[in-house]
Symmetry: C2
Subunit: 417 residues, 2 copies
């Protein structure tokens, strides 16, 4: 074997320390409490530092990171251009009683960049802006119901959760309607049945849910949905928190040839600096002004400066085309390597956000995911950070050499399965 297996002793030790003072030790996707999300015995719990496409864990192991902090790392960790702009702003000030004019500059840049944006509003979480979008849609239409596509994720606020999740009430999700992705007939039927009652349809630009092959929109799907929303006075909200700026700098709605009424951005907006944005159409501007929505750090200037530098650099690089190309080379290489070993590896979704699944493990039609998880574990143990349940993310710093190493390690990982 060419690639040594990483030791994770200090990670385990630190995790025991975390368990004493943090419920479940680590929350979110990285938490081993959510057992099936990650091959627990193989993955590092804590990082020490990061640069470019790599992070190093507390045991000193280096990982080629295909999760990119679940999205924010789009240019490479500690990108010098973004960090320099942020540091320059920080020397002046960050979280001040009145905002910096960097806020205006950032809004102007988004309005110039994002096709469907006539204005921008900034917050902190992706979930802040999906929630604001839903409130605004209800305020504008004076209707209650929200249509979701099954397999969605729009944050953790109560309205986004399920009635059987701990602490969620029937009332929280009473006005939610769930329809299958890519099924226009069913959607039109639901709109007909709820005529005059649907405030908004909220959707990611394509279905990139967890534990499932990601699914692109069918031919003409979005154009029909757009027309249906327009015809029925329904606000079309695109949640571009995850895919935003990796497919198209003008918005993922633009990439698929339509325009949202409201579009939500977060992750890739500022290369890890903490900001999210809601952009929208002129006809919703006054509604936005009327809604009660604010937060403690929302006027902070450093993330605005970082966001400006990030978007300007993504534009200079024409980044989506580069990520698309990197993603194609990587996923084609992985699929071919799998095939060599007799495995049927499916890569789905857009290459810049590829989702992987070994499809051989279908047991009577039910994918167990266990074989796939074992392969992921063999990858992670050798320094390729992937997960088994979630789409991945590419960043600009990922080199051809990194991709080559990844495929070589995949070869070894398949061989030991």
């Amino acid at each position: 074997m060419r690639f040594p297996i990483y030791k994770l002793d200090r990670s385990a030790e630190e995790y025991r320390r975390a368990l004493r003072v943090i419920p479940s030790g680590i929350y979110g996707h990285q938490g081993p409490a959510e057992g099936c999300f990650v091959p627990v015995e193989a993955f590092p719990f804590f990082s020490e530092r990061a640069k470019g496409s790599y992070f190093w864990d507390v045991d000193g192991n280096r990982f080629i990171d295909y999760m990119c902090a679940y999205g924010p790392n789009v240019l490479g960790y500690n990108d010098e251009d973004v960090d320099e702009a942020a540091a320059k702003q920080r020397a002046l000030g960050d979280c001040i009683t009145t905002p910096s004019t960097r806020m205006i500059d950032f809004a102007e840049l988004l309005v110039d960049t994002v096709a469907s944006a006539d204005w921008a509003f900034f917050a902190k979480n992706g979930g802040d802006v999906t929630t604001l979008a839903v409130i605004a849609a209800r305020a504008h239409t004076h209707r209650k119901k929200i249509v979701f596509f099954k397999g969605y994720y729009h944050g953790v606020t109560q309205w986004t959760q399920k009635v059987d999740y701990p602490g969620i009430l029937e009332e929280d999700v009473l006005n939610n309607i769930y329809v299958p992705w890519n099924d226009y007939e069913k959607l039109a039927e639901v709109f007909e049945e709820n005529r005059g009652e649907i405030a908004a349809l909220i959707s990611q630009p394509y279905l990139h849910g967890n534990f499932m092959d990601n699914q692109l929109p069918g031919e003409g799907f979005w154009q029909k949905v757009r027309k249906l929303c327009t015809d029925t006075g329904t606000v079309l909200i695109i949640d571009d928190v995850r895919a935003g700026f990796r497919l198209d700098l003008a918005g993922s709605d633009h990439f698929f040839g339509f325009e949202a009424d409201l579009i939500c951005f977060c992750k890739a907006l500022a290369n890890g600096y903490n900001v999210s944005a809601l952009c929208g159409k002129e006809f919703l501007r006054n509604t936005l002004s009327s809604v009660t929505f604010t937060g403690s750090y929302w006027l902070s200037a450093v993330p605005f400066a970082a966001g400006i530098a990030c978007i300007e650099k993504m534009k200079r690089l024409n980044l989506p085309a580069l990520l698309q190309e990197k993603g194609k080379v990587l996923t084609e290489g992985l699929v071919a390597t799998a095939k060599k070993h007799g495995y049927d590896l499916h890569a789905s979704g857009m290459p810049a956000l590829f989702y992987l699944r070994i499809a051989n493990d279908d047991l009577g039609g039910t994918p167990s995911l266990m074989l796939h998880q074992r392969w992921i574990a063999e990858m992670v143990k050798r320094g390729i950070y992937l997960t088994n349940h979630h789409n991945h993310f590419l960043n600009y710093a990922l080199s051809d050499e990194d991709i080559k190493t990844t495929i070589e390690i995949a070869d070894e990982a398949f061989s030991v399965l």
Copy 2:
């Protein structure tokens, strides 16, 4: 007149630019759209830089700032100790796929510092952790109802808003019960009427609502409330987002002699770096682990490093005592100066978070606030940044000289009313 009136030409110009790309130009408290919140013609819209107790606006005017970014600035803008710790962490990495062990260090420090904390969970907005607290209380009790004190503020998520606010549904607030502050009899009655149905009582440590004199808890009030919650199996949530660490580093519940089950922190936690925290009791740890709650930047290491430096410095300084003393000198000086001019200035709430109101303007029992607003405008126009509707915030960098200048300007401002 000794103090020149500030010109705000560039602020007005930048505001017109903002209006084109941001709904209402500036959102939140600083937005002139919310007309009555601030004396619009007198106040600067945009800041250029900040240091210590001052910020400078885009016209080059310097303000002694009593809003402290609505709370986050607790040690002084760009505090060198906090910024150094943050910069050191930033050089290593911030928003990475796996968290830094700074997260554990920060949780350990909070558990050591906050009397009612057996664990800590970190998020980004104050509203993230009040929402998490309410979800956790419902998950733990399998009950629906939440009791609030009238005049509360717990963020902007739907459950915290009012049914007549734009975009808010009856369902969003169906399980909210509102009782008057400091009225234990009424509270006990409500608990009796809703026996076995109340998941939580959520409250700030004292009533520091807007447009009203702030009110401290009556003698023994919290002890009776604590007992009522314990006796009825109701989760007692303290929203210490606004007052936290300015009254008592062990928590404002500790200051008032009781212990919360869950306590929410944000603003003063990291001197402006973007982080919030929910701390709580052992018996709620597993419930917290079971709840679905996460976000894109929630594992970022820089705010953890900043938070550690901030809390350690506040402890070294015994900051709450210093802020209490500064606040007493300031408010006593302002009240005496008002009296000299025949005005009855009320200072309410805790001195570190003082609320001001000129009480002469009662028109048949209804305070118009207009005289007070005019006085605030005269202060702001001369470089003392106050607001007329909200409690203020003190920070460590505020000097005796700043307080002296403030009182001198107050003297002039009263003389021109």
